[in-house]
C-alpha cells in the first residue's frame, strides 16, 4: 500500500514541479520516489501482507514490482539525459511514468478481478498517452490512436470475461473462483469457459501474443523509441505477471483444460514473431516482432504450470527486461543522432562508439539466448519447465525458433562491427555510459550466476 501511495505522491509532485518552474527537481523527486517505493516493497518480502482483500504483496508481486521499478529507473535516467532540454512535457512524461507504475503494482499484486482490471487500465491509459508523446509526428499520433482503439476493444473483452466469471461464481475474488472451480468441477460450464477465454483474449492482447499482436509493430514503431522500450519491458512484464497470477490463483483447477490453448498460442506467437522479424528493415519493428516472439517463450512456462513456472517467468522477465532496455536505449540514442531506425544506422558503430556497440551486442546475444548471457538461462529454465511436464514437441519448436531469431538479432551487430560507416565519435553523458555498462554487466552476471535468482519465488 505504501508503495502505491509513494508512487502516486511522487507522480503528483513531479507534475506540479512543471507548473511551478521546478523542472530541476523533477528527476530527484521521481528517483527518490522510485527508490522509496522499491524499499517499501522489499520490506514486505516474505510477509504476504493483504490489503482490503484486494491486493496481496507476496514474493511474486514484490519481485515483479522491483523488476518494473528498475526498468522505470532506467527509462527515467535515459529520458532525462536525452530530452531534458528539448521536451516541453518533460515533467508530465515522468509523472505519467510514475502513475503507470502504480498501475503495475496493482497488476502484479491483485487478488480480486476488479483490481486486475483497475491495474491494467491505469497502466494502459498511461501507455496510450506516452505512445502519442510526439504530438506533431503523424506516426506517433497513429500509434497512440491505434493503441487506444485496439486496447479499449481488448479491455472490453477482459471486462466481459470478468463479468461472466462473476455471474458464474458469484465472486471477484480469485480464491473464491478457484474454490468454486475445484468444488463443482465446473471448468466446462459455458459461462466459465466463455469467461476464461474472454479474459485470456484481453490479457493476451496486452502481452502481444498472436493472434492478438497486430497492434504491436505499428505502435512500437510510431511511439518515441524510449517509450517503446518502456512499453516492451514494463508493459509486457506486468501484463505477463497478471496473466500468470490470474491463472495460478484463480483458474488453477482449469489450467489443464486450457493448456492446449496456451500451447497453440505460444507456438503461433513464436513463429509469427520470429519469421516476420526476419523481414524487417527498421530495427524498432524488428524489436517489436522479437518482443512478440518472447511473449511466446514466456507462455510456454505459463502453460507448463508446475512448481518452477514462477521462477522461470521471473527469470525470463528479468533477462528480457535488461536486454530490451539496452537494445531500445541504444536504438533511441542512434535515432536521436541520425533520425533513422534502419539497420544501416548501425554501420561502423564499433568505431564511433565502442561502448554502445558492445552493450548492444550483449543485448542481442541475451535476446537470442546465447551463453554466457542471462537470456540463455532464461530460455533454459523455460524449456526445462516445459520438459519436466513432458512437453517435448513444444520445446523442440521453441529451440527451432531460437535458431531463427539468431539471424535477425545479429544483423545490426554485424553492421556495427563489419560495415564501414560514419566514424565520427558519438558523445554520451557519463551517467548514460555508466547505465549502459551496468545493465550489460548485469546481463552477463546473471548469465554466469543464474542459480540464486531462479529460486527466488
Amino acid at each position: 500500500m505504501m508503495v502505491l501511495i509513494i508512487l502516486t505522491a511522487a507522480g503528483i509532485l513531479a507534475m506540479f514541479a512543471s507548473v511551478f518552474n521546478g523542472r530541476s527537481v523533477v528527476l530527484p523527486v521521481s528517483l527518490s520516489g522510485l527508490f522509496a517505493a522499491g524499499y517499501f516493497a522489499l520490506l514486505e518480502w516474505n510477509t504476504n501482507t493483504t490489503y482490503f482483500e484486494a491486493m496481496r504483496m507476496d514474493n511474486f508481486a514484490i519481485a515483479f514490482t522491483v523488476v518494473c521499478l528498475f526498468a522505470a529507473f532506467v527509462f527515467l535516467l535515459l529520458y532525462h539525459y536525452m530530452h531534458y532540454s528539448s521536451d516541453v512535457h518533460y515533467a508530465e512524461v515522468i509523472s505519467i511514468i510514475l502513475f503507470s507504475l502504480a498501475g503495475v503494482v496493482v497488476m502484479v499484486s491483485f487478488t480480486s478481478m476488479l483490481m486486475l482490471f483497475l491495474g491494467i487500465e491505469i497502466l494502459s491509459l498511461s501507455l496510450y498517452i506516452l505512445a502519442g508523446l510526439k504530438k506533431k509526428d503523424l506516426l506517433s499520433n497513429e500509434a497512440s490512436l491505434k493503441y487506444l482503439l485496439m486496447g479499449a476493444f481488448a479491455t472490453g473483452f477482459l471486462l466481459f470475461g470478468i463479468a461472466m466469471l462473476y455471474g458464474a461464481t458469484g465472486s471477484f475474488m480469485l480464491s473464491d473462483i478457484a474454490y468454486y472451480l475445484g468444488l463443482h468441477k465446473a471448468v466446462a460450464e459455458p459461462f466459465i469457459v466463455t469467461g476464461i477465454i474472454m479474459l485470456m483474449i484481453g490479457l493476451l492482447f496486452k502481452v502481444a501474443a498472436a493472434p492478438f499482436h497486430f497492434w504491436t509493430p505499428d505502435v512500437y514503431q510510431g511511439a518515441p523509441t524510449l517509450v517503446t522500450g518502456y512499453m516492451a519491458t514494463v508493459g509486457k512484464v506486468a501484463a505477463f505477471a497478471a496473466l500468470v497470477r490470474v491463472f495460478q490463483l484463480g483458474f488453477s483447477p482449469a489450467l489443464e483444460t486450457y493448456q492446449f490453448l496456451f500451447a497453440a498460442v505460444a507456438v503461433t506467437t513464436m513463429f509469427i514473431g520470429n519469421i516476420t522479424a526476419l523481414y524487417q528493415k527498421s530495427v524498432k519493428r524488428m524489436l517489436a516482432y522479437s518482443s512478440i516472439s518472447h511473449a511466446g517463450y514466456m507462455l510456454i512456462a505459463l502453460m507448463a504450470a508446475n512448481e518452477v513456472t514462477n521462477g522461470a517467468v521471473l527469470f525470463y522477465s528479468i533477462a528480457y527486461t535488461l536486454a530490451s532496455l539496452l537494445a531500445f536505449a541504444v536504438v533511441a540514442i542512434l535515432q536521436q543522432k541520425s533520425g533513422s531506425d534502419e539497420v544501416s544506422v548501425f554501420n561502423g558503430l564499433s568505431k564511433s562508439s565502442p561502448l554502445m556497440s558492445i552493450t548492444f551486442a550483449v543485448a542481442m546475444l541475451s535476446l537470442a539466448g546465447i551463453p554466457p548471457t542471462a537470456g540463455f538461462f532464461a530460455k533454459f529454465y523455460v524449456f526445462s519447465a516445459a520438459i519436466s511436464d513432458g512437453w517435448v514437441w513444444i520445446t523442440v519448436l521453441a529451440i527451432i525458433n531460437s535458431f531463427i531469431s539468431v539471424y535477425y538479432y545479429f544483423a545490426p551487430v554485424i553492421a556495427s562491427y563489419m560495415k564501414k560507416g560514419n566514424e565520427e565519435g558519438i558523445v554520451l553523458a557519463t551517467p548514460v555510459k555508466v547505465l549502459l555498462a551496468i545493465i550489460a554487466l548485469l546481463t552477463l552476471l546473471i548469465g554466469l550466476l543464474p542459480g540464486s535468482l531462479s529460486y527466488l519465488i
Binding site: 502516486t8 503528483i12 506540479f16 507548473v19 511551478f20 459455458p190 459461462f191
Partner: protein, 116 residues
C-alpha cells in the same frame, strides 16, 4: 441459464441487428431531394463549408467538466454509506477530493481554463 440460452442470446443479438438492416433495405423508398444531402435535414440550412477552421479550445473545458462530473457521481454512493462507515469514509473522500483538486489546480496553472 445454460449453454443453450447463451446461444439463443447470441442468435437473437445477430438476428436483431441483421433484421434491422434487412428491413431498412426493403422498406426504404428511394426518395431524392436536396435536403437529403444536408447535415441537418430538418433544421436551419447550413451556411458555408463544413471544413472551416474553428477554435477547439473548448474541448479542455469539456474534459475538465467530465472529470468533476464523474467525481460528483462517485459522491452519491459515498453519501449513502458514510454514516455506517463513519470517520474513515470521511478521511478517504477528503483524500480523493484532494487528489482531484490537485488535478484541477494543475489544469488551472497550465492555463486550460483560459478562453483563447
Amino acid at each position: 441459464m445454460g449453454a443453450s440460452s447463451l446461444i439463443v442470446l447470441i442468435c437473437a443479438a445477430v438476428a436483431f441487428s441483421a433484421g434491422g438492416i434487412a428491413i431498412a433495405k426493403f422498406m426504404v423508398k428511394g426518395t431524392k431531394n436536396t435536403a437529403k444531402g444536408e447535415a441537418y435535414e430538418c433544421g436551419i440550412p447550413a451556411k458555408g463549408t463544413p471544413w472551416d477552421q474553428f477554435n477547439v479550445g473548448y474541448y479542455l473545458f469539456a474534459l475538465i467538466f467530465l472529470i468533476f462530473d464523474v467525481e460528483l457521481i462517485f459522491l452519491y454512493p459515498w453519501a449513502v454509506v458514510v454514516k455506517s462507515i463513519g470517520w474513515p469514509a470521511f478521511v478517504e473522500i477528503v483524500i480523493f477530493m484532494f487528489i482531484l483538486f490537485m488535478g484541477f489546480l494543475y489544469a488551472h496553472k497550465k492555463g486550460a481554463l483560459k478562453w483563447m
